[in-house]
Each structure stands twice: as C-alpha cells, then as structure tokens.
C-alpha cells in the first residue's frame, strides 16, 4: 500500500460512487414511472375537459382545432364518425372492428407512436380520444429526472476533495511522527514528543520511545566502556614507555633488541588513542558543541605541539595561504583531524622530506590542503584507506612505519561531522599524497 491517505480516498470514493449509482438507478426508474403517471393523469383530465367543452352531436368542419404537434384529440360518434378533432388527427382512429374500451393505449399514426386515453361518454354516446407523442413525453420525463440527478453526480468530486482534506487532518499525528523520526539526527536518541497522541498511535509512540531509550543506553554504555578501557590502558602504556626508555640507557642491552619492544608499545599506544578519538568523533557524538574556529590557529598549534616528530626526521613543514580561516566546527575534533593528517604526512615522508599545509578560500568553502613529498598512495587504494584498520600493503607496510590504520577513518568521521568533503590526490608540487578538505561556509 503506497499511501493510507490515497487508499482511504479511493476506497471511500468508490463506495460513495457505487452507492450513489445504485440509488440513482433506483430513483431514476421510480421518477420516470412517476412522471409517466403524471402525464397519463394529464391526458385523462384533458379528455374530460374536451368532453365538457364540446357537446355537439354533429360534425363541424370549421371546428378543427389548432394544437401543438405533440398533442391531439378526437371526438367520435358512436358509429365512429368524426365529430370534432385537432388538426393533426383528421382521420378517425377507431372503428367498429376495434375492441374499443375506455383506458390508456398506445397507437401509431402520422409516423409516430402516441400515448392515448380513450374516454367513453355514456351520456352523449360518443368516444373522446386524447393523445401525446410518446417520444416527447419520454424526453420531458428524462429532462425532469436528469435535472435532479446531475447535482448528485457533481457532488462526488467535491466529496472527494473534502474527504482528502479530512483524511489528511486525521492522519496528521502519523505524519508528524514520521517527520520527527525522519528529521532525527543520527546522534539524536531523545524521545519523540507529540502534541497530542491519538489512541491508535499511543502504543507506537511509546514503543518507539522505549526503543530509542534502549539504543541510547547501549550507546552510552558502549562509549563509556571503550573510553574507560582505553583510559585504563594509558597508565600501563606510560609505564612501558618510561621503562623502555630506562632500558635504552642500560648498556648491557643492545639497542636492536629493544626495537620490537618499542614498536609494540608505540602501536599499542596508537591503537588506544585512536580508538578513543574514533568514538569521541563519531557522528553519534556530534552533539559536542560547535563554535567558530580559526583553522589557521588550530594548524599552528598542532604543528607546534607535535614538532618534535617532524624535527626528528628533519622534515620541512610550512603553512601557506590565508592567515585566518574561520569555520564552524568542533575544536577538539578539528585538532584531531589536523593532528592525524600531519602525523600521517610526517610518518610516511622520508627524512629531510617536505610537508606543506595550505589554507585557501574557494567559492562557498574553506579549503585545507596537506601534501607531502612521501611515496603517496596508489590511486586505486584511495577509497580503502578510509576503512577502519586498513593499511596500504597490509601490515608489511613498505615504509616500516607504525600505525594501526585508524587515522584516516577518524579523519573521515570528523570530515563527515563538519559536512565537509575530503579528496585524495597526488601532489603535483611535492610528489606525495595530497589531502584536500573543503569545509562549507556556514
């Protein structure tokens, strides 16, 4: 069923039409026979009138009467000779051979069928016939009946229109509910609020709200769990890092023996951080307040904070373009976005390489570009790198770089959160990966 409204309208109109048609049919027949009866009564009284008006016993030629062509009368003597007649009935219509008696009768003459009434005038011993053309009678009767039927037929479309509106009003609570559910943001698990819930929808609304509540609780639990777990892991990882540093100062242990340990700890730390930020910046968490942020300041601060990593690889980093770049966004999320992209650029770019961050104003958007002189990503992998835990070339990444494949999927989440668009390209200038993000102007 496509639409309850359409269905109800069609069903109701069909029923109304059918019922109307049946009653009209019945009414039509009844009206027609009533009209015929009326006309018959008319004929009868006309005959009586003629009998009273003309008492002559002899034929007068001058007495032929001019009447409308649709009616006639004749007065016949008892021997069936004409005493008087209307002009259109100049020959006697009865003869002694007929089985003549008073009453209604159909006769054919002058090329038409006539409805006639024969009156036997017992006092003057004569016959009086009055008649009407039956086809005209029929048309007249039909006109009368049709005039009363047409308004009823015309009323059906009007009824359809009113029903359409009435159903719409009746179904409004349902469409309100639908609209509320449709307009809900992915993160919005608040209950559905209705001005007045009709009886039929009460349990639907209640069930929906209960479901939303359960999903919300599950979300909160899941987030709490992952956040708690990740937080709990932070101190142990700190211990490992600090102790590893201490071991490196121990001359009995060779540097090489510690490399796998270093990598393992690094990786563990990364996974924990990225799991945390993945949940923090998922669209369900979009409720985090948005404000006007200077992207330029964010980039400066993040690079300043993480400069150690870049300095260690003696990479050149620069920020070009607009000196201020205000967008609507979540500061913490944007920091994570820039941090991930800059860290990626630095990680996958060899020593002495170059990283370039550019801020540009383009029509209707602010553009953030991060490009590097690293090996880049093959074009056919552009889509896959945004998937969780995907790493180009799997775990045997050619650059031997630590990572867990969550960085770009976090970036994608944050991009989505800001209704921005992200594109990967090859940097013409530096030869490596070029990440372009367009933030819509508010």
């Amino acid at each position: 069923m496509k639409s309850i409204r359409t269905y109800l309208l069609l069903a109701l109109i069909a029923i109304i039409t059918l019922v109307t048609f049946l009653s009209l049919l019945q009414g039509y027949q009844a009206s027609i026979s009533k009209a015929q009866q009326l006309f018959d009564d008319n004929l009868k009284s006309m005959a009586a009138m003629v009998a009273n008006a003309n008492q002559d016993q002899h034929h007068h030629n001058s007495g032929t009467q001019e009447l409308p062509p649709s009616v006639f009368f004749q007065i016949l003597a008892s021997d069936f000779t004409l005493l008087a007649n209307s002009k259109n009935a100049s020959k006697p219509l009865l003869s002694e051979y007929d089985n003549v008696e008073s009453g209604y009768k159909y006769m054919n003459f002058n090329g038409y069928r006539w409805r006639t009434f024969i009156l036997k005038d017992d006092y003057l011993q004569r016959w009086i016939i009055t008649g009407e053309r039956s086809d005209i009678r029929y048309i007249l009767a039909e006109n009368v009946v049709t005039a009363s039927i047409i308004p009823i037929v015309l009323a059906i479309p009007i009824a359809a229109f009113i029903i359409w509106i009435a159903i719409g009003v009746g179904l409004k609570p349902l469409s309100d509910l639908t609209r509320q559910l449709r307009e809900k943001q992915a993160d919005d698990l608040s209950p559905v609020l209705m001005d007045s819930t009709p009886e039929e929808l009460t349990s639907l609304v209640a069930t929906t709200n209960a479901l939303l509540q359960r999903v919300n609780d599950a979300f909160v639990r899941e987030q709490q769990f992952s956040a708690d777990a990740a937080h709990e892991l932070r101190t142990p990882i700190s211990i490992l890092k600090v102790q590893l540093h201490n071991l490196k100062n121990n001359e009995d242990i060779s540097e090489e023996a510690l490399i796998p340990l270093t990598n393992g700890i690094e990786r563990m730390g990364l996974v924990v951080e990225q799991i945390l930020s993945l949940y923090r910046h998922s669209p369900e968490q979009a409720s985090a307040k948005q404000s006007t942020i200077d992207l330029c300041a964010v980039v400066q601060n993040i690079i300043a904070k993480d400069y150690e990593q870049i300095a260690m690889k003696q990479q050149q980093i620069s920020l070009l373009g607009d000196e201020s770049c205000f967008i609507k966004g979540n500061e913490f999320a944007l920091e994570a976005l820039v941090q991930n992209l800059v860290a990626n650029a630095s990680k996958y770019t060899p020593d002495n390489g170059e990283i370039q961050v550019t801020l540009e104003t383009i029509p209707n958007a602010r553009r953030l570009i991060i490009e590097d002189s690293g090996p880049g990503i093959p074009e056919d992998k552009y889509k896959r790198v945004f998937e969780r835990f995907y790493r180009v070339n799997g775990d045997r990444h050619e650059s031997d770089v630590l990572g867990c494949g969550l960085g770009l999927s976090i970036v994608k989440h944050i991009v989505k959160l800001h209704n921005a668009e992200i594109h990967l390209q090859r940097s013409v200038q530096l030869g490596g990966l070029k990440v372009v993000i367009d933030f819509p102007e508010k």
Partner: protein, 219 residues
C-alpha cells in the same frame, strides 16, 4: 633540581623516578595528595609532577593547594583524561604545563627542561644556548661574551624562545606573551622584532617555520 613526583601508580612512579634520576634530577615520590601538600609546605621542591587521578583527593584540589603555598612553583600535570575541558581546567587552575598519558619520555624531558631554564633565568639569572647567554637580572644578552643591545620587547621575545628551546612558539602565542590584552598589535610586529633580533644573533639561531612560528633549538 629537586622534583616531587605525585603519582599513585607505584610502578609508573618507580620507572619515572629512575628515568628522572638518570637525567640528573633528584626525585621524591609520594602517592597521596594530602601527603604531597604537607611535603611541599615543609620543603619546597623545584618542580612538581602531578598526576590528576589520586586515590585520596582530586588532583585539581592538590593543584589549588600548591598554588596557595607557592605561586611560581612549576607544576607539570599528568593525566589519563584528555578531554578539552580537562586541559582548560588544568591550565586555568595554574598548571604550567600539561601532558596526557601515555607520553613520550622525550616530551616529558623537553617540558622539564623548559621549567629548568625558566627557573634558571629566574633564580640563577643566566641561561645559555650555544653562544648566546641571557642574563635576566641584568637584562643583558651576551653573544660570544659580548653584550648586544636589545629593546625590551626583543629581549622578552628572545627570553621566551630560549626558555622554550626545542618547542615551537606560534606567532599568536608569542604575541600574547609580549602584549597585554587590548593593546593593538600590528599583524607583522613579531616578524619585525624577529627580523631585528636575527641581525644581532648568530646565523640560524632562531629558525622559522613558515606560517607557523619560530623555534630555538637547544644545542
């Protein structure tokens, strides 16, 4: 340098104490906030490393108490929480710096070195990086033992860069250090000061990160 380490996780504390000792710090370790406050009252350390998650009282309360005892005592906050609010709170309550767990030892050391340098410009008056020595009591700067003339703002700028050697200082950050609120700052003022400073200092002493800021690297 006397470091007071306030950290309830004894394994981390022991490992950290070992590291800090290896770097030439004298370390005292306490696992409870109340004890730490008492210890600071009786014997003021040079640097405090404070974990915000303590078993007895909240780390932010410890921070408040420390600030009542001493305004200048450098406090580095460690925390497993990293929400933005935490960060803002910590710095508002008077932490000098902030480090989220799990941290790199190098990062921790860089921050402690900044404290150290700041303490030395405060107490012992001198701080040297390469050929450049800054004498904050005499308000002089020596390059290869020769005094150079600097304006008050140039001096402040150089001091900020040298105290934070190894860490990038953004232009906005330097501006807010140099100028009080409301004062008009021409957009290129910092560039102009840096330009003048460079002429008086050894080549490449102040390095530029285009569009981002400046850095003095420790030698």
């Amino acid at each position: 340098m006397q470091v007071l380490l306030i950290e309830d996780d004894s394994t981390l504390a022991e490992a950290l104490a070992q590291t800090l000792k290896g770097e030439g710090f004298a370390v005292n370790h306490l696992g409870y906030g109340k004890l730490a406050i008492e210890a600071i009252k009786t014997d003021l350390p040079d640097i405090v490393i404070l974990d915000l998650g303590l078993p007895d009282i909240d780390g932010t309360d410890v921070l408040r108490a420390i600030r009542k005892i001493s305004v200048d005592l450098p406090v580095l906050v460690l925390t497993a929480r990293t929400s933005l609010e935490d960060k803002v709170n910590g710095l508002d309550l008077g932490a000098d710096d902030y480090l989220a767990k799990p941290f790199e030892v190098a990062e921790l050391m860089a921050r402690l070195r900044v404290f150290e340098r700041r303490a030395s410009t405060l107490k012992h008056s001198g701080l040297s990086i390469g050929d450049v020595t800054i004498d904050s009591i005499g308000h002089r700067v020596l390059v290869a033992n020769e005094t150079i003339e600097l304006s008050r703002r140039e001096f402040m700028l150089l001091k900020a860069l040298m105290e934070n050697a190894g860490r990038v200082q953004t232009r906005d950050g330097l501006e807010s250090k140099l100028y009080s609120w409301g004062e008009e700052v021409a957009s290129n003022t910092i560039e102009v000061h840096i330009h003048h400073l460079r002429k008086k200092l050894p080549n490449n002493f102040i390095q530029t990160l285009r569009g981002i800021g400046y850095i003095v690297k420790p030698r």
